[in-house]
């Protein structure tokens, strides 16, 4: 079933909508005793198998939903407002980051139909005083990448026991001159370990090798988009990259730019 997701905000309530391939909307049911998200939803993420997805946002709750029953099966409380979410490749860990730079990790292990009581997560790593804008796992699951408002990208070794903390930093991918807004991986048959692609407020999309943190290539969006796109706006406008999307087994990257 092909599913497209849209987010709406009305009257301070955020609703998640799902549309199936026929264009019909599917409603979500909150069943774990709590309520639907009460404030802006900042991050949503599918588990690789597609059976679960996670939503989190300004109400400091991380909710895990089953895609079979469309029910919320678990709610985790965060201490601060959540800015991004990632699920490990094998689906066993959910990581979420808050605006103070702390990334917490929680263990998943259920198969989608059980309902769990509210639980707390353990802090895994922290970069003080800088908002984390994006979290990603590397395709081989060895590394865990976090992107920051203070222009940095940090590559951590994802530990065997994440609840004890992720202490080993593999590298820093430094080069952006503005906040880093989004991360994605480009993987193909020839390069299964993938390359990291990042978008930033400095109007560039950069390509990185994560084990060394070295910058492989930089693409200036303003050059690529060309003058046509900016329709007569003469002055230097700041075109921040707001989102990236990659296609599995392809070298194409879709870039969303905010003018």
């Amino acid at each position: 079933m092909y599913v497209k997701i849209d987010l709406f905000e009305q009257n301070n309530y955020s609703t998640l909508w799902f549309f199936d391939s026929g264009g019909c909307a599917v409603y979500l049911v909150e069943n774990s005793g709590g309520s639907l998200h009460k404030d802006s939803i900042r991050a949503i993420r599918y588990r690789a198998s597609g059976k679960l997805f996670v939503s989190a946002g300004d109400d400091k709750l991380v909710k895990i939903w089953s895609t079979e029953s469309w029910r919320c099966i678990s709610t985790i409380c965060s201490e601060k407002r959540v800015t991004s979410v990632a699920i490990s490749n094998d689906g066993s860990y959910v990581c979420f980051a808050d605006k103070f730079g702390v990334v917490d990790v929680d263990v998943e292990g259920f198969d989608g139909n059980q309902v769990f009581a509210d639980k707390k997560a353990a802090p895994m790593l922290s970069h003080y005083c800088s908002i984390i804008t994006s979290l990603e796992f590397s395709p081989d699951g060895r590394f865990f990448i976090s992107a920051y408002r203070d222009f940095k990208i940090r590559v951590n070794v994802f530990p065997k026991k994440p609840l004890d903390g992720a202490h080993e930093i593999q590298s820093f991918a430094l080069g952006h001159t503005e906040f880093v807004s989004c991360l994605a991986f480009v993987c193909t048959q020839e390069f299964p370990q993938g390359f990291l692609v990042s978008g930033s407020g400095d109007s560039t999309v950069r390509l990185w090798d994560i084990s060394s943190g070295s910058l492989l290539d930089t693409c200036d969006i303003r050059e690529k988009a060309g003058p046509l796109e900016f329709k007569g706006i003469e002055e230097e406008c700041c075109a921040a990259v707001t989102d990236l999307c990659t296609i599995p087994d392809s070298t194409l990257v879709a870039v969303a730019v905010q003018r």
Binding site: L125, S126, Y128, C129, S130, F151, I169, L174, G175
Partner: protein, 252 residues
């Protein structure tokens, strides 16, 4: 240039800057956004600016010498100056958040270089926030020694996250230190001493030095004697609490 200074911010006899013209608050908020320039990456650090005699031009890309000692929160520079002559072939840098204090250390180093030709060329200072920007200055495993002398205790529990030694910041310090590199901490506040020791003890990438190793290290006695803070504590007959640890490879 120094002898033409009309105002007496520098002492006429020694040429060294006088502290009273470089007074600053003892505390600075480490969590606020920076208003000073930060290098984008360690390769962008301008060595010719810091060590002009050793790196004559900023185009010198092939030079393999890198900074190996970092004094975090170097204050008025006492430790750097003592280490400079003890390790004349090692490049060192002090990092300080307060701008007036950084200016003082810069002037002090310049004056020492003038009065002692050939010496003190291996030390420098930079105004920066080491809680945020260590990865911007140092590559992975670049440093062999890191110093945290008499850091701000941030007594209130809500301010504990501003402490420069914390379980999470130790991840970054472990990144910058080479395996076998040493981290030196000292304080006169017992609670902070216990905190720093506990953080280091619980971190999987640090192990304590044995007391024999501590005694054999020539740097150890400088921790309390070389800095202005240390000398003040000594004058007042206070006690100091040290925690000296070695960076190890994490066990798998």
């Amino acid at each position: 240039m120094l002898e033409n200074k009309v105002n007496s911010t520098h002492s006429k006899s020694t040429g060294l800057p006088r502290k009273r013209f470089y007074r600053a608050r003892a505390h600075s908020n480490p969590l606020s956004d920076s208003h000073f320039p930060v290098p984008v990456a360690p390769s962008h650090v301008d060595y010719s600016l810091h060590y002009p005699q050793l790196f004559p031009s900023s185009d010198e890309a092939g030079s393999c010498k890198k900074i190996q000692f970092a004094d975090i929160g170097c204050g008025f520079g006492g430790l750097l100056i003592s280490l400079s002559t003890l390790f004349p072939d090692t490049l060192m840098i002090g990092m300080e958040l307060r701008d007036k204090v950084t200016e003082y250390v810069k002037e002090r180093i310049l004056a020492l270089r003038v009065t002692n030709p050939g010496q003190y060329q291996n030390i420098s200072v930079v105004r920066t926030n080491s809680m945020k920007y260590i990865p911007n200055y140092f590559e992975k495993a670049q440093l062999s020694k890191m110093f945290f002398l008499f850091p701000d205790p941030h007594f209130k529990e809500k301010n504990h996250r501003r402490r420069v030694i914390s379980p999470f910041l130790l991840d970054e310090y472990a990144y910058a230190l080479e395996v076998g590199g040493i981290i030196y901490t000292i304080t006169d506040v017992e609670e902070l001493g216990d905190w720093m020791k506990a953080c280091l003890e619980n971190h999987p990438m640090f192990e304590a030095l044995t007391s024999e190793e501590v005694e054999a290290d020539p740097v150890t006695k400088l921790l309390s004697s070389a800095t202005e803070e240390g000398q003040k504590v000594d004058r007042n007959g206070g006690q100091t609490f040290r925690a000296i640890y070695r960076r190890i490879a994490p066990s798998l």
